[in-house]
């Protein structure tokens, strides 16, 4: 029994971070129809942000707060300088953001070098959980991720800003006809999505190798998550990430990471084959 609980705890950790990543992707895609290939790099920037702020002598908790904000600012700049010129041309958004990802990655290589860096892990000790000694920081990662997801939903479903964003997602022109500044919302949303990726990178930074290529390992399952669940809603990526993450963790726990990756891809292909609109579309149809 304890083994199962520990497994659930371990996988919740991976799933919650994946949710953050795919939520950021979905927010950006939903509002702007931009497929953000640079999302992985935004995540990595979050990790590098923590690294840099730590070098500057800031306490870890402050780094966790500031780094995602810096990534959001970078996202804002990227939107203003590059992304907005590609709106309404889906293929161009892919090319533009892919180019952006190369620039960001190479920028990191030039500034920080190609090698791995270590973010000093906050020394929070361990607590006994279900008969295992569990590192407290992992619990913090889960709590922060869950809080950020809840915050995102609160913003989108409980604030005027979120209401306007949902209106823009549903019907951009009509939203503008009601006096909503859609450009401003584009900026804010892109920055917010980038910030979510930055947060994911920041909270994970002590648990991974911080290197310029670290983003890809999240980008792929992130995309898979929103593809599997469908792009129509904000709960899509949550459901998708839960599915992808759970299948991955379960298969990895039962067999090996090689089989896990294979299982995830096969499962995703089957889902997309039979529910091309995603799992969430199925639920909507039944409702």
């Amino acid at each position: 029994m304890d083994r199962i609980l520990i497994f659930l705890l371990d996988s919740s950790n991976a799933i919650l971070v994946l949710m953050l990543v795919s939520l950021g992707l979905a927010v950006i895609f939903g509002l702007m129809n931009v497929i953000n290939m640079a999302h992985g790099e935004f995540l990595v920037l979050g990790a590098y942000g923590v690294l840099t702020l730590q070098w500057a002598g800031l306490p870890f908790a402050a780094c966790l707060v500031i780094a995602p904000m810096l990534v959001a600012l970078i996202g804002l700049a990227a939107e203003e300088l590059l992304i907005r010129r590609t709106y309404e041309r889906l293929l161009d958004t892919i090319l533009a953001t892919w180019g952006l990802s190369l620039v960001l990655r190479q920028g990191l290589v030039l500034i920080y070098g190609p090698g791995s860096h270590a973010v000093a892990a906050p020394d929070m000790g361990s607590v006994p959980v279900f008969g295992e000694i569990y590192p407290v920081y992992r619990l913090v990662v889960m709590a922060l991720s869950a809080a950020a997801i809840a915050f995102t939903f609160w913003v989108f479903f409980r604030t005027a800003l979120g209401l306007q964003a949902r209106a823009v997602i549903a019907n951009r022109n009509m939203a503008a006809c009601l006096g909503i500044n859609t450009r401003m919302l584009d900026r804010l949303t892109f920055a917010f999505g980038a910030g979510l990726a930055g947060l994911a990178g920041a909270v994970m930074s002590p648990l991974i190798s911080v290197d310029p290529n670290a983003g890809l390992g999240w980008l792929v399952p992130g995309f898979l998550s929103i593809l599997v669940a469908g792009l129509g809603s904000l709960s899509g990526p949550i459901v998708g990430a839960a599915g992808v993450g759970a299948v991955d963790s379960l298969a990895a726990a039962i067999s090996s990471p090689v089989w896990a990756q294979l299982t995830v891809f096969v499962a995703a292909i089957i889902v997309i084959r039979f529910f091309p609109q995603g799992l969430m579309a199925l639920k909507r149809r039944e409702a």
Binding site: A160, L163, Q164, R166, A167, A170, N171, N173, M174, A175, A176, C177, L178, G179, I180, N181, T182, R183
Partner: protein
């Protein structure tokens, strides 16, 4: 309060408006009449800033609207009820109204106009009947406290009995608030009943401007029949 001069606009290569001029006075209801494809909807989209115009000018209270974004035009007091209503189907009735009330105004304006909406406040807009959706679209426009209301085919796809009821409510409200209205409507009887004046649009220009009462069957026939 609205002055349009020599407006040219179109989609892609084709010009739809070819030098249309038009004025709407304070508190005046103007019906735009004419056959399909003559540029009535195009004109409303131009006023709203959804479609750029190639030449000519649009002024609201003497201020030029040319080059402004749609949201800026909306914030200057132009409200739009588009053809097909375009309510936010996944948002609730109340959320639809709240969106319009974000910049001053209150959703109560909308409920007062159509009290039936209040009972559906928490339902998604998409679940309403056609008539109710039209009520919501009009209520949403009125909540924003506009100075100029653009109505595009408000009677389309709605039962005749409901149409008249809605028309009466809207007319009464508009009159009492002193709003200016530009109405595009296929139902000419309805249009002429509520409007002060009819402007006939033909091939992208204003062909005639006649007080509603003075519009005869012959005039109608000459502009409306093929």
């Amino acid at each position: 309060m609205l002055e349009i001069q020599e407006l040219h606009a179109g989609y892609g290569g084709g010009e739809v408006l070819r030098g249309l001029s038009l004025g709407v006075a304070h508190g005046e209801i103007v019906a735009l009449l004419g056959r399909n494809g003559m540029g009535k909807t195009t004109l409303l989209r131009c006023i709203m800033g959804l479609l750029p115009h190639a030449a000519g000018s649009i002024r609201l209270e003497g201020q030029p609207l040319s080059g402004l974004d749609c949201f800026e035009i909306a914030r200057r007091g132009v409200a739009y009820v588009p053809q097909g209503r375009e309510i936010f189907g996944q948002l609730t009735v109340e959320e639809n109204l709240r969106l319009a009330a974000l910049r001053g105004g209150t959703i109560e304006t909308g409920y007062d106009l159509f009290p039936g909406l209040r009972a559906r406040a928490k339902d998604p807009g998409g679940s309403l009947s056609g008539g109710q959706q039209q009520q919501l679209a009009i209520a949403r426009a009125m909540v924003a406290k506009p100075r100029l209301l653009l109505l595009d085919e408000p009677s389309e796809g709605i039962q005749p009995s409901v149409v008249n009821e809605i028309a009466d409510i809207v007319t009464r409200s508009v009159r009492s608030m002193g709003l200016s209205v530009l109405l595009v409507e296929q139902n000419t009887d309805l249009a002429l009943r509520v409007a002060d004046r009819a402007v006939f649009v033909d091939h992208g220009v204003d062909a005639a401007s006649i007080a509603s009462r003075a519009v005869t069957r012959e005039i109608l026939a000459s502009y409306m029949e093929l």
